[in-house]
């Protein structure tokens, strides 16, 4: 059923982190769905970036095998919702590359993400420590 002891088949996210148990795979996919947007906003908040730089940055942070298309879909979503500004830069080959930068609405959304994340993390930690 599993690809190997260190390979989690997480549908499109396919995160591979050797320290995680394979049985966490399905949960990880579901949890990432809710948080990946915040993670992407956090990356873009550091400095404006191209789509492939954002994917590369996710990989550096340990989200090893997130599909590029998934990141693209997320960037489309935050663009549609007006959370990022997009600048098109001509490319030698293929269509113009898009540079994404966080705007004021995006910064507000990111603040809310961190507040929500802290709240959840604190509550869940408490449950965990309580041995519930």
């Amino acid at each position: 059923m599993w690809g190997g002891p260190s390979t989690l088949r997480l549908s499109q996210y396919s995160v591979r982190l050797s320290s995680w148990e394979p049985t966490l795979g399905k949960q990880m996919t579901e949890m990432l769905k809710g948080t990946l947007e915040g993670i992407v906003l956090a990356i873009v908040s550091a400095r404006p970036a191209y789509g492939y730089e954002i994917t590369a940055s996710l990989r550096e942070q340990g989200f090893a095998d997130i599909a590029e298309g998934t990141v693209y879909a997320l960037l489309v979503r935050v663009e549609q919702r007006g959370l990022v500004d997009v600048e098109k830069v001509p490319s030698e080959k293929g269509p113009p590359r898009k540079v994404y930068s966080l705007n004021d609405a995006g910064r507000e959304q990111l603040e809310e993400f961190w507040r929500t994340w802290s709240f959840l993390a604190e509550r869940i930690d408490r449950l965990h420590e309580g041995g519930a």
């Binding site: 997480l10 396919s14 599909a67 879909a73 979503r77 269509p95």
Partner: protein, 122 residues
């Protein structure tokens, strides 16, 4: 045939022009990108349920951007799509929040429950 038929009923001349441009971009993709992009386009028609022409065109244009970029860089299809094409298709389609055919039924459901039990958020 189907595309021609749709064009008779969709929006302005400008929208028709943009639809043809997007379609030409997808038709011009080298293999295997062309086949892959068309397979997803077909799925979007069934899954997306977007009835608003502007949103559908934006979606089609963004999708053409994605595959033209991949073709230009020679990025393997699986790097873009991941393991599960359905999951990717649905994540992509959900990024667009244009008018959908289901909206009318959503409003009807909210109203039916509101009439029966007032006081919801909707």
């Amino acid at each position: 045939m189907a595309a021609k038929w749709i064009e008779l009923f969709t929006g302005s001349l400008d929208q028709k022009r943009r639809y043809r441009q997007n379609k030409a971009r997808i038709d011009a993709l080298p293999e295997p990108y062309g086949t892959v992009a068309k397979a997803f386009q077909r799925y979007f028609v069934y899954y997306g349920g977007v009835v608003d022409g502007e949103t559908a065109l934006t979606m089609m244009g963004d999708f053409a951007d994605l595959w033209e970029r991949a073709a230009a860089d020679g990025t393997p299809v699986r790097i873009i799509v991941g393991d599960d094409p359905v999951e990717f298709a649905e994540t992509f389609a959900q990024a667009y929040t244009g008018k959908q055919w289901i909206d009318k039924e959503r409003a009807r459901l909210v109203k039916a429950i509101e009439d029966a039990a007032p006081g919801g958020a909707g």
